[in-house]
Symmetry: C2
Subunit: 484 residues, 2 copies
């Protein structure tokens, strides 16, 4: 059965593009994927980036049918390992439920897996080493610039080509396309803790390691070969910044001072620091995500976000699943449920419109929460009240596991829409604001004990209930009790 | 004296570019202006747009020394003429001071005046009919695409090339350049009320005519030849919109129904409606405005705004004046006040940094206020409380002329920075909120009389004072008096 005459052209064969090619390919559509990079990445080292894969991403991988094979390359992370200035490590489990974990996964290896499974399909073709010269979304054509100098005709173009998307670029030049790019004043640099003897892990394998230092921080995620990829998030400018660390001596001293335990495990630190690029952190938004059934944006191309919830890839995979589900949605057929799918521009327009309706608010929500989390980490890490709030929140999670769910939990360990997580997060803030009301910051410790006792007492009264109103009432009761 | 080796290259010879070429040319700098349009606009009709010139713009024109010559082409507008659905006209003077007026001025004629005065200078050269192919801000070169296919080397590039600026385009592709474009759901179309016999004006010459109709409106500004250029602001989509008026009959009926008096004066309405483009309304923001002393943005290129305060051109002229003043600022010379001006990249960087510091907050303020004014006009025109507030505001202006100044007045009839106008506008809102507090919307009329009486009484008490705190206190006093 020929579903469509011309292929669906996916621009970009990265994570989103490969996953989409695989899932749409499985439905029988002719697919061509145009990828500017060569098939085998020439510089694996430079691409040894790893990412945190959470439930949202796993859900999409499950849909492909290859999740077990794919998770072979993933390292489970069961919690955060905090590294203090004096090299003390403190483990914080993500959950008392040991089944809840994130995965650390190599971008390159995951990409290879998805692409290889997609390429096994006869109707899916990858075209490598060919960047787009121009994309005409009105004509549905993609002209490439390198070897082939080919003009590809498509039934529809799907842009999976990342934060600096060429497909989006051609849409932004059309009339009435909203667009914004907003940079943080921080950038990041990738570094490495190599494996020990026999590919052993030099720090705990099953943790996401964090070195929080106020206005900057470093994190490290495990790779399957025993190494860790570290990321330093650091201001571009200022007294302690990428600009200020301009000699090998200064970089050496900086790591010795601020990350002493990691420093001892990073023999190539100085070369890595000066060889690896300093990258910027951007939030990109656009509206609409699609153009008249002829073009549609997926993942970073539609909404690049900053990495402070580790959700960029997961959000992209959610897009992919939503778009694939819209392809299946019979109510979007021309002629409604009874109509046969036509997969013409009108039908694609229906598909893309529903995709946008279901994704836009969620992408905006995770974009905002990720930036918020950055400022929270940067500005409040030494703030006594903030830390107290975090403790109270942790207590609430323990005491009311089915009733109080933190925003972090909702984002990282559920598939609740991001916009719902954002709303519940705001409700949580209200509850916490009530709970931590203190007349004097000095009284915090005493009040903590009072509050815990009281929370335990009141929790008995509300045992049977399971909604937020009650948790909120508990908050108010505790507050009243503590202050009067 | 050769101030610099290579010329200052101004991209765009529109209003901002021509004014800047004139003012910098007068300082002796070698200037080249690259303008994509031909010297004589081939289609004067299509360009017969007129604009409202206010005190801010006049201040810049005064600086050129040619203000009297330029104002010969301007028609003073002393107030608004409101046209109701049943063709009743109501005049609202802008001010009791008859010296306060706006000017209606043809974009094309004003542009010609500024360019002609600039071209008289030996050191200023305009290059016409040559659009930019590529701009390399790092190398300070501008490559053009048409006749000349020339590569121009510049000591610095100043982008005066409008909302879709090529100079800004090259900056946005660099790292860490914030950018946004945000469209309204309304668009606009220009129409015409031609002159009567002997170039007579068919409606009042010295007014800005407004046909407010809730979700849409039309305005008309006088031209010196007796005609009026009308602008219809109208939704793109919906039951009554540019999309819905898709036949000559529908357009005819629409104007008959909603603008009956204007309809009778528009013999070419249907041809104009279908021949003239439907244009979109965009707000464009970017940050920073400049790049390392090599490029700088001025006017719409830096901050396109929607026209609902009639301030786009005036804001651009303020930019020009600010930038020219920064060129004069001795404290920005390398080596401070004592240093000789070098006009190298470092010096230009100082100039542009100060220009940005002084302009960015103001451009953002007028951009926000213009959008706000659009929503206010669209959503509140039939709102009783809103109209009452406007009446009370008018009263305050009359009673406390030196103490209560409306935001409109600050924007249109002062050169107070836009950001100050925005702040005072917020204070005004607080005052008005106090003053119009009513328990029941039905009591509005009775309370109005009470409040006016009370305001008169209290105004005596505060005669000697002249600051906002007192006006605010008056507001509170009146509120107390009325309600208790």
């Amino acid at each position: 059965m020929e579903l469509i005459n011309k292929p669906i052209t996916i621009v970009g064969g990265g994570l989103a593009g490969s996953a989409l090619a695989l899932l749409l390919g499985q439905k029988g559509f002719p697919i061509q994927v145009i990828e500017k990079r060569p098939q085998q990445s020439e510089n694996i080292r430079a691409r040894s980036i790893n990412l945190a894969l959470s439930d949202r991403g796993v859900k999409t991988l499950t849909k492909t049918g290859y999740v077990d094979d794919i998770l072979k390359i993933a390292v489970p992370m069961k919690g955060r390992m905090m590294h203090s200035l004096d090299s003390v490590q403190t483990f914080q489990a993500y959950s008392s439920d040991s089944n809840k974990h994130l995965y650390s996964v190599s971008r390159q290896l995951l990409n290879d897996k998805l692409r290889e499974h997609a390429e096994k399909l006869d109707n899916v073709k990858f075209i490598f080493s060919d960047a787009c010269k121009s994309i005409d979304v009105k004509q549905c054509t993609v002209e490439t610039q390198e070897k082939n100098k080919e003009k590809y005709e498509a039934s529809t173009i799907i842009g999976c080509d990342g934060a600096f998307s060429a497909v989006r670029g051609s849409m932004v030049r059309l009339d009435r396309q909203d667009y914004s790019q907003t940079y943080l004043k921080h950038g990041y640099k990738e570094l490495c803790i190599p494996s020990g003897p026999n590919q052993s892990y030099q720090i705990d394998k099953n943790s996401l390691h964090i070195w929080p230092r106020g206005s900057f921080m470093m994190i490290a995620l495990p790779n399957i070969d025993g190494s860790f990829t570290c990321t330093l998030f650091f201001p571009f400018d200022g007294p302690l910044s990428f600009s200020s660390l301009d000699t090998r001596d200064k970089v050496d001293q900086f790591f010795k001072d601020y990350f002493p335990d990691a420093y001892n495990l990073m023999p190539n630190l100085l070369d890595d620091y000066f060889d690896n690029p300093t990258s910027s952190l951007v939030t990109i938004k656009t509206d609409p995500y699609h153009y008249q059934g002829k073009a549609c944006l997926v993942g970073d191309a539609a909404h690049a976000i900053v990495p402070f919830y580790g959700q960029g890839m997961n959000a992209a995979f959610e897009d992919v699943l939503e778009l694939v589900n819209c392809f299946d949605d019979k109510s979007l057929h021309i002629g409604g449920e009874s109509g046969k799918p036509t997969f013409d521009n009108d039908h694609f327009n229906n598909i893309y419109s529903k995709y946008q309706t279901n994704r836009k608010a969620n992408s905006d929500a995770i974009a905002e929460m990720a930036v918020e989390n950055f400022f929270e980490m940067r500005d409040h890490v030494g703030d006594q009240l903030f830390l107290f709030k975090k403790k109270v929140e942790h207590l609430l999670e323990l005491k009311f596991p089915s009733r109080y769910i933190s925003r972090y939990e909702l984002i990282s360990f559920s598939t609740q829409p991001y916009s719902i997580a954002q709303k519940i997060g705001l409700a949580n803030q209200e509850i916490l604001k009530e709970l931590v009301k203190v007349d004097n910051i000095q009284d915090l410790k005493i009040q903590t004990i009072d509050k815990i006792k009281e929370m335990e007492r009141i929790s008995q009264l509300f045992k049977s209930s399971s909604n937020y109103t009650h948790v909120f009432m508990i908050g108010q009761s505790i507050h009243c009790h503590c202050n009067y």
